[in-house]
Amino acid sequence: MPEIYSRYPMVKYLRKEALPTALCPGCGGGTVLNAFANAIDQLKLDPRDLVVVSGIGCSAWIASPYFLADTLHTTHGRAIAFATGVKVGLPDKKVVVISGDGDLASIGGNHLLHAARRNIDITVILVNNFIYGMTGGQVAPTTPFGAKTTTTPYRNIEHPLKISETIAAAGASYVARWTTAHVYQLIESIKKALTVKGFSLVEVISQCPVQFGRRNKMKEPAEMLRWFLKNSVPVSKARNMSEEELEGKFIIGELVNRKRPEFTEELNKLIDEVQEHFGLKEV
């Protein structure tokens, strides 16, 4: 229906032949795609200067294939490792990874940690919906304690990973967390993440009414958004709260924003030094 596309100003950033999306009605993925497109638009970035890499799962589909840029849809969990090669090859381009919590923090957890440590200039938008959505709603490393999933039918007895806090500690230049109920803040954070030189992570708490909500008494998308709003705590306020008080809360805002030597710059600097040292520069 072309008239619907024409009413959405961000459609110019989408691969029309790939639409409509495969996302379920009420999925937070659409919000993330919209926020990302708006961030690109507001920064006036040419999509030709973007390479978007993603892994496997619903959230991996958000930008790949739907976003109109060079897109690399990779193997499960490995998006950041692929993106590392792309960034070294194209240090002047913006390299963005958009994928889910299962993909980036579970099977791909090692790459996430090491990319943050390396501080390579890649922006990661991690869509955290607490669940393995596409493969049928199994437990994830982000599933809340006590929640029900298809593989924790009685209750989840594992503790969820605090992704943003972990990556902030690992050495990222920029880390922020928002929910899909904080769209404007989310757009601002994506813009900052894209501008910061170094590894940046934007964690988006996102609703999966179909696989997560339905099994945890929130089958309507709006119920999940209300749950996010009710339980969100700004990072400044959270600093003065105890661990018990923060149990089950979503800490939102910027966790880290700092300057550290960036990997591709350091790599090129090193090459320059080596060339100088061995007298290899053209005279």
């Binding site: 897109t71 690399l72 849809h73 590392t84 090669g85 090859g89 790459h111 290899l280």
Partner: protein, 396 residues
Amino acid sequence: MIIRGDEPEQVRLLRKLYKPGNYFMQGNEAVAYGALFAGCRFYAGYPITPSSEIAETMARELPKLHGYYLQMEDEIASIAAMIGASWTGFKVMTATAGPGFSLMQENLGYAVMTETPLVLVDVQRSGPSTGQATKGAQGDFFQARWGTHGDHPIVALSPTSGQDAFWETIRAFNIAERLRTPVVVLFDGILAHTRELVKIPDVDDVEITYRKLPANEEEARLPFGDPHGDGVPPMPLFGHGYFTHVTGSTHKENGLRDVYTPEVHDRLVRRIHRKIEKNREVYERYEEHFTDDAEILVVSWGVTARPALGAVLRAREEGIKAGLFVPKTVHPFPGERMRELGKRARAILVPEMNLGQMILEVERYVNDDVLLKGINKIGGVPLTVEEILREIRGVA
């Protein structure tokens, strides 16, 4: 659009850094220098015995050539980073050994499916599992062929000396670029650590190939099409405004995913097979010694081809009509030539440092009336001339 490594600046640097002449070096170093001469300017790897000197040499030499060395967090990340870098226009390589090769298999399949040129050197060591980590072996013959899942073709080469490793690594890059495919180099721990004479040529004496790039916008829009009829699509590189979509899922010629139409999968996977099958002249290579009148044919590969040649020479001195056939490209196996040679031979001996792997390929091409026998040794110690000669005498 350029493939990094072919600029005149690179030729000047190579010539300045590596004077032609004879050098005494490890097989692993020969692999690394071969890669540098072939235009490799991106290496991502994870150290593992007995391949580590390849990484060490690349880490030392690549920056001199404006190239990039990345030590990744594991083997999976290494091959992933290579694929990413290859799509930006680099010639890329990694080196590993058995366990690392196992970890790379999923992304090796991804490289086959997305038609990404790369060179993967597997310095074979003893297994299964950690096995004898520091010892050589020839046990990954089938891992190279069948390690990843699905129907897929693979090209695998196997050098027989340090000098050979230098040239075979260059050839691996040329095949990878020409056919837009991953190429495996099956090296081994013994040759990897043997120091011997390696002649470094002048840059001008090295013929190198670069991948086909799209000639126009139309070709760039079909990153998985077949505009030239050879099964090899031109490769639109990232960063040039083509909005290329690359996925390991079944995709149409324009790169977009379509996993539901049987014809799309059939067309894609058959073309990927066809481009390897139809371009045999690009990669097929073997060596022959005294095969014209050989009654006893020794078929061997990699490190074992050397004592095998010694044994054949000694047998000839004794008046035994022995010959040697050495497939240098082991996958796809040079079956046609094997069939011809098999018709003339009375007995075929297949020495290898495993419990019988390449012999199964040989068996497919020889008749039942030929005596076919493996000479197999495991434990990390290479076969000797004597051991192979004894078997030749036994069937003479």
